[in-house]
């Protein structure tokens, strides 16, 4: 539970609320070239920017938390490239100009993409601070160039770094963060001649993003009535859904824990009830000798807590010994987390008290005369 809380409280590095996302796929038959695709998105983005209730609109080929991320080998211009198998891999995202503004990703140095970065201009990229620190340590990365790699003998494209942004959490925080994050501008057709025709629309809305779904559909239909629009979700729901397996894991662990706790309570209750029936004569003698209800209560509860204490000690030692087995399932919480251990002990002691209470109360109601005569 604390792992899930820790995962969900990690700063992702971008805005998730008031964002509407939708996938658009431009089929090869109708949009056979990158130019045709870019023309469509230019028109669409211009139209969406004008929609009432839309603050900004952008596209991205792989939306964070959607499971995808482009991986491309690259080299640094001015340096000798290593063999292809040893070349570093960057994690690419192809985006439109307003992507950073739409998702609220801050600029650390340099500049974002702008209208001057045309398709006929120098190809530019924005890189993450981690990328810059890794490949240009102690240097000013702005103005430095990298190049892509293709295996069909074409001249590689060179890209100039114009801006630095913080590395974002591209997937769930319990997965390793994608290193070497680099943003390319879709209008410059990066990685040409490869065509990128599968994008996700990202709209930053003034209010509830769901209210803009129909307007979005109409905008697309106005440009291409045959184009299907799929997977339309508010971004925070995309994020929420990505934690589904974690929540299921937590629910299952929780359910089994509750079942184990109930079994422990029933077991302890059974043992104590049996013990009280066996100790009836002893308890009767104690009552006859002056024991008050509180004395009897303390005696039986004490016996129950002793049993629970032994169980707790065994449990704590086992947990401390075997906790490395569940480390993989934890995030932001140590397997030997003292708060979790303390809370577990408190819950188990409370459960033990509940289990003890009924037999203990029954013990205080023993009729000593009848019991002693038996």
């Amino acid at each position: 539970m604390r792992s899930l809380e820790a995962i969900q409280s990690v700063s992702l590095g971008f805005r998730t609320n008031n964002i509407l996302t939708a996938e658009v796929y431009l089929a090869d038959a109708k949009y056979p070239t990158q130019t045709a695709c870019n023309l469509f998105f230019d028109k669409l983005l211009a139209k969406l920017q004008q929609l009432p209730g839309v603050r900004s609109a952008a596209i991205v080929d792989d939306l964070p938390f959607s499971g995808g991320f482009g991986m491309n080998a690259f080299g640094i211009v001015g340096q000798t490239d290593p063999p292809l198998k040893d070349m570093p891999i960057l994690r690419s995202q192809i985006v439109s100009i307003d992507y950073f503004h739409t998702l609220g990703i801050t600029l650390l140095r340099g500049r974002f993409f702008d209208d001057q970065d045309g398709s006929d201009k120098e190809k530019v990229i924005v890189v993450s601070d981690e990328f810059a620190a890794r490949f240009f340590p102690g240097q000013d990365p702005i103005g430095k160039q990298i190049h892509d790699v293709n295996s069909i003998g074409l001249t590689p494209n060179a890209y100039t770094i114009v801006g630095i942004v913080p590395a974002i959490q591209h997937d769930r925080p319990d997965f390793p963060r994608a290193p070497h994050q680099v943003y390319f501008l879709y209008s410059q057709s990066p990685f040409a001649p490869r065509i990128t025709n599968d994008f996700t629309l990202v709209l930053h809305t003034q209010g509830d993003p769901v209210t803009l779904v129909n307007a979005l559909r109409q905008s697309i239909a106005g440009i291409d009535p045959t184009l299907p629009l799929t997977s339309i979700y508010p971004f925070d729901q995309v994020i929420y859904d990505s934690f589904a397996s974690r929540r299921l894991q937590m629910t299952l662990v929780g359910a089994f824990s509750v079942a184990a706790l109930v079994l422990a309570i029933v077991g302890l209750y059974g043992v104590l009830s049996y013990s009280v029936s066996l100790r009836k004569r002893e308890l009767s003698v104690r009552i006859a000798l002056g024991a008050q209800a509180a004395n009897i209560l303390g005696l039986v509860v004490g016996q129950g807590l002793k049993i629970a204490g032994v169980g707790l000690m065994v449990g704590i030692i086992s947990a401390l010994t075997l906790n490395h087995l569940i480390e993989w399932a934890l995030f932001g919480v140590s397997a030997a987390d003292p708060i979790s251990f303390g809370a577990s002990v408190l819950v188990l002691v409370a459960a033990a008290l509940v289990a003890c209470l009924l037999p203990a109360l029954r013990a205080t109601r023993i009729d000593p005369i009848r019991a002693l005569r038996e």
Binding site: V285, I287, L372
Partner: protein, 229 residues
């Protein structure tokens, strides 16, 4: 009800009745019992089995609260007291000796004798000296660390009696205290009761034995729940 005059009696029973509800009415165990036991008295309650002797003793010992009538213990109106007040009265003034000793098997002689003191909130340091005095007085110092199963019947009953008197109660109630003992041991126990009585302790014992009853000052006879006049 008008306030009562101060009394000096240890026990005063007026019209005590005890019954169990059956399908077809009530089954009476005790009927219209009027009994006064003065301080320093030694009363033997006799009668055939099922006469109500033990029932009467448990009422006197404040173990049984399900009865009707008036019961004064050292001027305290037991019939008006709440359960907790009865327990406190019992702890303060009475000691009970059972026929089957009822020592706790997993406690030593010392711990068994200490038990009533622990329930009377006697501090630990005082408890130790009181118990050691009692062990010494009854010549069972050597048995202090033994468990009941390591003692003879007579020794177990002796420990049970020491346990009953260790808190210095004014009233000892004994339910057939020699019922499980052979005659020599029984005689020793009765001599002990006589000695305690001569030191001022009021004793009410239930017995079937005329010989044991003769150690007391008077005999109360019960039959079918009625007290013989």
């Amino acid at each position: 009800m008008a306030d009562r005059k101060p009394r000096t009696s240890m026990i005063e029973l007026k019209n005590i009745e005890k019954s169990y509800k059956l399908k077809n009415g009530f089954y009476y165990v005790l009927r219209q019992i009027d009994l006064t036991v003065e301080q320093g008295d030694f009363v033997s309650v006799m009668g055939p089995s099922g006469a109500g002797k033990s029932t009467l003793l448990h009422i006197l010992g404040l173990h049984d609260a399900e009865w009707e009538g008036e019961f004064y213990l050292l001027d305290q109106p037991v019939h008006k007291l709440k359960q907790k007040e009865r327990v406190n009265l019992r702890k303060k003034h009475t000691g009970f000796v059972f026929q089957s000793y009822h020592l706790l098997d997993d406690l030593t002689v010392y711990e068994n004798i200490e038990l009533p003191l622990s329930y009377r909130d006697v501090p630990h340091s005082q408890r130790e000296s009181i118990v050691c005095d009692a062990l010494d007085r009854f010549n069972i110092v050597g048995k202090r660390d033994l468990f009941p199963s390591q003692l003879s019947g007579g020794q177990q009953q002796l420990v049970a009696i020491v346990r009953a008197i260790v808190a210095k109660p004014e009233l000892i109630l004994a339910d057939e205290p020699t019922g499980n003992l052979h005659s020599d041991q029984a005689r020793e126990i009765m001599e002990l009761f006589k000695r305690l009585n001569s030191e001022g302790t009021t004793i009410v014992q239930v017995t079937h034995s005329e010989e044991n009853a003769s150690y007391g000052k008077r005999i109360v006879r019960l039959k079918d729940g009625w007290m013989e006049k």
